[in-house]
């Protein structure tokens, strides 16, 4: 960036510090300090009011034995898995279709991306109604086509609650689709022309040219999916409240409930620390896989 023979005037340390100050202050106040605070307070019992009491690893023992936390943990892992192995392939599929520029492809791209600019709160509301037991779209549709026996209380049936809260995320493929489309557009057209001459089918081209060349975008998508899953709050909060019997609980919602509903601030932060650790492990995993595929 800077040239080998730096011309005058160079920046003084003071000028640099002055320019960096606002950014450093924001990050220090809202990310670094909270991180330290959480790591420390996770070992205390604290009701928010009054002094905190050091209790060692008790919070983590409590978490381990708490059925709600276990549900939250496994459900969050499910969010990651479904995000990686169902949602992401769907994003790739649509990107592969759109990259051949069928008629109205821009229109489709705009439509598919739309949910990404709308708040998850509103989308959760929308899907709450779609799955609503008495006035919901799903049950009414099943009634219309004569499948009354399939009708159920989707959001509060333990077999379907988690998947119902996840469905909007799975089918809103817009973000990943654009990510992959952007990466595909950097692939030189000659590669496809050559393959065409060799008589490779469209599927074959996608499989052996496109997919290997978009693995960086796939890795990036994996990073986003992990981040999204660990932050997942709105869908279960609004659609099911984490119920029934915690079957759709997530880590973020658990952190919120322990703080706001149960007033167990120390426990809430311990759950936060577990979430941060899980995030770190998953991110390292993604990077390790990426490095191996790039070799």
């Amino acid at each position: 960036m800077t040239s080998p023979r730096p011309p005058r005037p160079l920046a003084s340390g003071r000028q640099l510090a002055l320019y960096l100050l606002p950014a450093v202050a924001l990050v220090a106040l809202f990310l670094v300090f909270p991180l330290i605070f959480t790591s420390y307070m996770s070992f205390t019992e604290w009701a928010g009011l009054g002094p905190a009491q050091y209790i060692g690893l008790d919070n983590f023992v409590t978490l381990y034995h708490d059925a709600a936390f276990r549900e939250a943990f496994t459900n969050t892992i499910w969010w990651v898995l479904i995000g990686l192995f169902v949602h992401t392939p769907l994003c790739v599929l649509v990107a592969l279709v759109l990259h051949r520029k069928p008629k109205f492809w821009k229109w489709f791209r705009t439509a598919f991306f739309l949910p990404n600019v709308i708040s998850s709160t509103a989308l959760a509301f929308l899907w709450y109604f779609v799955f609503h037991v008495s006035l919901g779209l799903v049950n009414k549709l099943l009634g219309v086509v004569g499948l009354e026996s399939w009708q159920r209380n989707w959001l509060f049936d333990p077999n379907t609650a988690l998947w119902a809260t996840m469905l909007p995320f799975v089918i809103y493929i817009g973000f990943g689709m654009v990510l992959f489309l952007t990466q595909i557009s950097t692939i030189p057209g000659e590669l496809y022309e050559a393959a065409e001459l060799d008589g490779a089918s469209a599927v074959r081209q996608d499989w052996s040219i496109t997919i290997p060349l978009i693995r960086r975008a796939i890795a990036l998508q994996a990073v986003f999916v992990v981040g999204y899953a660990l932050r997942m709050f709105e869908y279960p909060f609004i659609m099911t409240g984490g119920g029934p019997a915690n079957h759709s609980m997530t880590l973020s919602l658990y952190i919120y409930q322990q703080m706001v509903t149960a007033n167990r601030y120390g426990l809430s932060m311990a759950a936060g620390l577990v979430t941060l650790a899980l995030g770190a492990v998953l991110m390292l995993g993604v990077f390790a896989v990426l490095r191996r595929t790039e070799k």
């Binding site: 011309p7 990050v27 605070f37 307070m41 051949r100 600019v117 809103y172």
Partner: protein, 268 residues
């Protein structure tokens, strides 16, 4: 993909994406009886009663205004801090790599895990239940993304232009003001779109950091239409429509830029 799957794929995803929205819009124009009796039918008569009812039931106007203030203030703060920091990092100094790492590591943090400490930071600053507290929090937690977008654009500033400015004797500040910042404007716009949409849509921190309509944003407010004691579905539909309308309008007008903006931070 073979042509045979092309239209089925596009058709299925179009239906999945569009139909729920249309259904929401249609339901927001119906009466409660119509919704229960015939969820697919068209509204019996065109009436905006649900919208006026929703507008009167809760201070939606105030919620929308709070959302605008929060989104704009947070965006401006992030952009200002990012421009300054990205410019400083164009100069190489002893700890510049460490500073860069410090500024972007938050990108990989699940920030919801920091709910409790951030509540206390805002509270101790005396900003609990204030739009400024929410805006400042957003500025903090969404800073890394905004910063990366802006830094990505700024780093493409041609070296010759900087060189020429230095030769003319322009100072550190002057190069920033007259050369680097103006040239980074496209990046600023991209970042602004991303940040406005992201901050407009946030729910968790807005819920915890506010307590009444003085500071509650529209995402928090919409929830009041569907609580323990309220089950006025048509009004809830109408309020949802009103809360998403601003972003949809912006999106429809500027879809290419918005799509670029929302994904730019990631591919740079």
């Amino acid at each position: 993909m073979p042509r045979s799957v092309r239209w089925p794929v596009l058709g299925i995803f179009s239906v999945l994406t569009i139909v729920p929205f249309l259904w929401l819009l249609m339901s927001s124009l119906k009466t409660s009886e119509e919704i229960f009796a015939d969820p697919f039918g068209l509204p019996g008569s065109f009436s905006l009663d649900n919208f006026t009812g929703a507008w009167e039931a809760h201070p939606l106007g105030r919620f929308l205004l709070n959302s605008v203030v929060v989104a704009v203030v947070a965006t401006v703060l992030i952009i200002a801090a990012s421009l300054l920091a990205a410019y400083a990092l164009m100069y190489r100094f002893r700890i510049s790599k460490a500073v860069l790492a410090f500024l972007v590591f938050g990108l990989l943090l699940p920030v919801n895990a920091l709910l409790v400490p951030i509540f206390y930071v805002i509270n101790d600053l005396g900003l609990y239940n204030s739009v400024w507290g929410v805006a400042l929090t957003y500025a903090g937690i969404f800073f890394p993304t905004g910063f990366l977008i802006i830094k990505g654009y700024m780093d493409t500033t041609p070296e010759e232009i900087l060189e020429a400015a230095r030769m003319d004797g322009a100072s550190f500040h002057r190069i920033f003001r007259s050369v680097v910042a103006p040239l980074t404007m496209p990046g600023v716009v991209t970042a602004a779109i991303f940040l406005l949409i992201t901050t407009w849509n946030e729910l968790l921190f807005a819920t915890v950091l506010t307590q009444d309509e003085q500071a509650q944003t529209v995402q928090v407010g919409v929830r009041f239409f569907l609580t323990t004691y309220a089950a006025n579905y048509p009004q809830a539909f109408a309020a949802t429509v009103m809360s998403i309308a601003p972003t949809i309008v912006v999106y429809v007008l500027l879809s290419n830029r918005v799509i670029g903006g929302m994904t730019a931070g990631s591919l740079k």
